[in-house]
Amino acid sequence: MNIKQNYWKTNLKYLVVLLVIWFTVSFIFGILLVDQLNKIHFGGFKLGFWFAQQGAIYVFVILIFVYIYLMNRLDKKFKFEK
């Protein structure tokens, strides 16, 4: 397998993992399981409500910066970045 296909495969692997987390914190925690999670309290917040109005957004930001880190590392490994 050539270098570029290898690079692409690793990229796809990262994408799947990160998008699963993206889907989980917003659609699952914030919407589908919101009633169940709301039974758990976290300071003055109900947990499901917190994910829908705060937590999901924080995780989104972290996800992009993790992706930046992973891809910069990958670019270096494959010598795409000078």
Partner: protein, 556 residues
Amino acid sequence: MVLQHWIWIAVGISFSIYIAIALISRASSTGEFYIAGKGVPPIANGMATAADWMSAASFISMAGIISFNGYDGSVYLMGWTGGYVLLALLLAPYLRKFGKFTVPDFIGDRYYSNIARSVAVFCALIVSFTYIAGQMRGVGVVFSRYLEVDINTGVFIGMLIVLFYAVLGGMKGITYTQVAQYCVLIFAFMLPAIFISLMVTGNVIPQIGFGSAGSDGIYLLDKLDGLQRELGFHEYTSGKKSTLDMFFITAALMVGTAGLPHVIVRFFTVKKVSDARKSAGWALLFIAILYTTAPAVAVFSRTNLIETVSNKPYADLPEWFEKWERTGLITYYDKNQDGLIQYVADPEVNELKVDADIMVLANPEIANLPNWVIAIMAAGALAAALSTAAGLLLVISSSVSHDLIKKMIKPDVSEKGELIAARLSAVGAVMLAAYFGINPPGFVAATVALAFGLAAASFFPAIVMGIFSKKMNKEGAVTGMVIGVLLMLFYMTKFKFGWFGGGTEKDWWFGISPEGFGTFAMMVNFAVSIIISKYTPAPDSEIQALVENIRNPDDN
């Protein structure tokens, strides 16, 4: 000093900065006009994207809408931020590697046909025009509210400013003005939010404040849930919308965000692929500052409103109430003549109507902040509206001068001629937008949701499949886009304007609202494209090589 003077000073200073930036960063080539010469540093691009993205609606209306809808308002919070994850992971780096000027450029080249390009131009124009009309109106409303000029004069002043820096500077001028506008708007939004948080919860950070307890030791959200129940409203932390509809609306807003041409094109302006990823990260971080503060402001102002007015004698209300009553944004009618304000869910008994925009606009007065803070709010609201309008304007002008004229009608046009065409179409677009701002078509509010649905139903699938599938061909992509867009237009016009026999909530397909239907139309687009591409010839090796090429940042 009088409030009016403070406001003229704040608006005057901020506008002078925008004009100065425009004079410094004039565009001298089409590359600079369309994509700022690909030289924007990622942090600056992040700020510009954030300002481009956050419109007058985000700044003025969103916190209020959340405040009245509680948990249901989460669709906007998750929907308008989650799209950046899709942008950073699925679109931005590859489109930057592709390295042309516009979104129709990509669709037209990747699907090797001018039909695909034309469909993309058509979608880009519809999406951007529906959006920009709302922004120009927003500029007019802000002017009239703060400066006591009439709305039309406000639209006119806004139009001249945008015209000046967009036509002169193109993307280069817009980018650096947006950086300044981001700073103005975020400062204007955060300052009152921090003071209100301090006042209500004793915590400086609104994001933490709204999960803590007030001076009575009761958690703020528990107290608000209780107040809402008492007055017959639904509980703040739980919603009225069905789970399925929440899901579909959130998805449509996320995917729509990732498919909006004025947002995508910002990632064409950076130097290299890794900078496109970084820009998306910075952009979301800068957006998140406002988007995580807004739900806190929503809770503070909702609690404050109920505690201030509910069952209180009208005569004893604070000054800000009367001030905003004069603007017509608050109306009170004493139905039972008891001199008290009954603010309840039951429309028969309720005596108070409050416009959602109050929740942000009245904040400085509620928190007893000095007049200059209100002046800064005015400048912030204008920054939010102008920055979005300018970004949209550029998409419209480049669609006309680059995608239509250069790529289809007159391919031999010179660089100079194209630049003139770009400037002229920007002028034309501003005039048209101003016309809609002055004579707003009744459907403006309804069509903002339409813009997201359309972007989700058209661009997103075509771009994603263009990157992630080498076999996707023009037959599949074009049919998918056309069917997706038509389906979305059909559903929106049916349920929003009563065309095709109209219908009410109980006629919605599977209980999906028009706002959430973009998700459904997008899924149809994907399905149609994939099926048709299976039965039609795959793209030739040249196109497949193009796809290989955009998948990595290597230059060779």
